[in-house]
């Protein structure tokens, strides 16, 4: 069974060392542009509502993927940056399998007044086994430090 063999020295065969250069400037998009400009100056979110089916998207989208219609400006609205935890996990290891100094809780938050959930880092008041259903509120960076990216939301804090 060859797959049980120990790996040989990768430098033994004649080889050429290379890397795939990949630097990117991603645009936030027509809808993202408005959303991220908004959170640079406000502690709330923008959402957009499909005129046909009534689905409220947060972060807002330019179009409804089901009805395939563009969402006009007048169907945009401001919503509070808070919601209810729907799913979560507590990560003990990072992507490379190394232990995290402080375990990281990440979850999906149903954003109030919308039909959408956002991925966020969660902070709770005390250690709990089950965070499902707790209400949380976004904690933003200080206004002057915001850059118009998802990282302007530091985490979602358990409210109350």
């Amino acid at each position: 069974m060859t797959y049980l063999e120990k790996q040989s020295n990768p430098l033994d065969p004649v080889h050429f060392r290379g890397n795939l250069q990949a630097d990117y400037l991603y645009t936030s998009g027509a809808a993202g542009d408005k959303f991220f400009k908004h959170i640079m100056e406000n502690d709330s979110f923008l959402a957009s509502e499909c005129e046909e089916c009534g689905t409220v998207f947060c972060p807002p989208r330019l179009y409804c993927e089901d009805c395939f219609v563009e969402i006009p400006d007048e169907k945009w609205k401001e919503v509070p940056a808070k919601g209810t935890v729907r799913l979560f996990t507590t990560a003990m290891l990072n992507t490379f399998g190394e232990p995290l100094e402080v375990p990281k809780i990440i979850g999906l938050i149903d954003i109030e007044g919308t039909d959408s959930s956002m991925l966020g880092i969660l902070k709770t008041k005390d250690q709990k086994q089950d965070l499902t259903g707790i209400t949380v509120e976004a904690v933003f960076r200080p206004t002057q430090e915001r850059e118009g990216t998802l990282k302007d939301i530091l985490y979602f804090n358990e409210s109350g």
């Binding site: 290379g18 990949a22 630097d23 645009t27 027509a30 395939f68 563009e70």
Partner: protein, 387 residues
């Protein structure tokens, strides 16, 4: 196989860097095609996405990322790509969905967001080479195509100014295109020859620009098309072919792979004499000389004859064989896969009499579109005909 008709096309703006995400560009082009066809997302059975390497947009598996903007949610959906050949290959894949009887109506969406790749999409092209036999010398595509262009010019004793005429024609043709990135009504041969020398004999204006953009096309069975039109426009033939990756061992003066793809498409279309039976062409023109190379590959003239036809005005919009009436990649822009807009949607718009300021005179009946990609390897060809 069933006859397949085209009932609508759409294109976003083509620009060096657009604010919209790839999904949003896909949505805008798709919506336009659906409005032209007069159909809803619910009418579409399946969606085919064409988009070239993930490295441009910077999203691995970008087909999945783009799907909601392409109307693909909850539908059979597939992304196809073969580099620069994708702009004609994606509509070929869409065609076989309907021709086979698997689907009645299919939308083909093509997208590329090259502006994400920073500082220039050429950084992504650096990684298409064999990592052992080519990459240690840091080749880039401009150098490669300069060698191919030089070979073509030397083989037939072609003058650079006859090649430069392609840029002049296409950038002037693009003036009538609402999506065009580099139209120029006043450009001259001297402007092209005097533009910056990038790698001899390639000047800057010999090359199409990198672009963000999307395009879309809607197919249905010919039978279903009768619900929408009395004068259906049909896909008459398709062909695709690829040459060896050992490009160093090939003579680059003639694109055999394009000729092989063209023969396959012409056979399916029942075309015996392409020069007589084809009214206009949209060959792939990322570089000036490529239009000429591809016209010869498409068997629309003798080897080495395309520059002469160009000089004599035969390939102008009002000439005997209009070539790139859309304005091509040189004039409208080159968001790789999304050039389906010039190479295939344009065939539809010209045949349906919907090309506006770009309309070819004389009621064209048959057009051929072609794309080209990889390391001078891939030829993809589609023939369209009034039903």
């Amino acid at each position: 196989m069933r006859n397949v008709s085209v009932i609508g096309g759409g294109m976003s703006l083509f620009r060096r860097r657009l604010k919209e995400t790839g999904k949003e560009l896909s949505f805008l082009a798709s919506k336009m095609a659906m409005e032209e066809a007069g159909v809803q997302r619910s009418d579409i059975d399946m969606v085919v996405m064409g988009s070239a390497p993930d490295a441009f947009d910077g999203i691995h598996m970008k087909g999945e990322n783009l799907l909601d903007g392409a109307g693909g949610k909850d539908k059979p959906y597939v992304r196809v790509f073969n580099g620069g050949g994708t702009g004609v290959f994606a509509p070929i894949a869409g065609w076989w969905h309907v021709a086979s009887g698997v689907a009645d109506m299919v939308m083909v969406v093509c997208e590329e967001k090259m502006g994400s790749c920073n500082p220039h999409p050429q950084t992504a092209f650096r990684n298409i080479w064999d990592p052992i036999l080519d990459r240690p010398l840091n080749p880039n595509l401009v150098w490669l195509f300069a060698m191919e262009m030089n070979r073509y010019m030397t083989r037939y004793d072609i003058k650079k100014e006859d090649i430069a005429r392609v840029a002049v024609k296409n950038k002037r043709n693009a003036v009538g295109h609402p999506c065009a990135q580099l139209p120029d009504a006043n450009i001259t041969v001297e402007d092209v020859l005097n533009s910056e020398m990038m790698a001899w004999p390639v000047n800057r204006l010999d090359i199409s620009p990198p672009s963000d953009g999307a395009s879309a096309l809607i197919y249905c069975s010919e039978e279903k098309a009768k619900e929408f039109t009395d004068d259906p426009i049909n896909v008459a033939g398709v062909g695709w072919n690829i040459d060896s990756s050992m490009w160093t061992n090939r003579d680059l003066y003639f694109p055999d792979y394009v000729a092989n793809a063209a023969k396959m498409a012409y056979k399916m279309a029942g075309i015996n004499d392409p020069r007589k039976e084809i009214d206009f062409a949209e060959p792939y023109d990322p570089f000036t000389y490529k239009e000429l190379h591809h016209l010869e590959g498409l068997l629309l003239c003798d080897k080495g004859e395309a520059p002469i036809l160009t000089r004599e005005g035969v390939t102008e919009r009002d000439g005997d064989l209009p070539v790139c009436p859309s304005g091509g990649l040189l004039g409208v822009g080159n968001p790789i896969a999304a050039t389906m807009g010039q190479k295939v949607c344009e065939l539809y718009w010209q045949l349906a009499g919907k090309a506006g300021k770009r309309q070819i005179p004389g009621d064209p009946q048959v057009g051929v579109g072609q794309a080209w990609g990889d390391i001078m390897q891939m030829g993809t060809v589609l023939v369209m005909r009034r039903g």
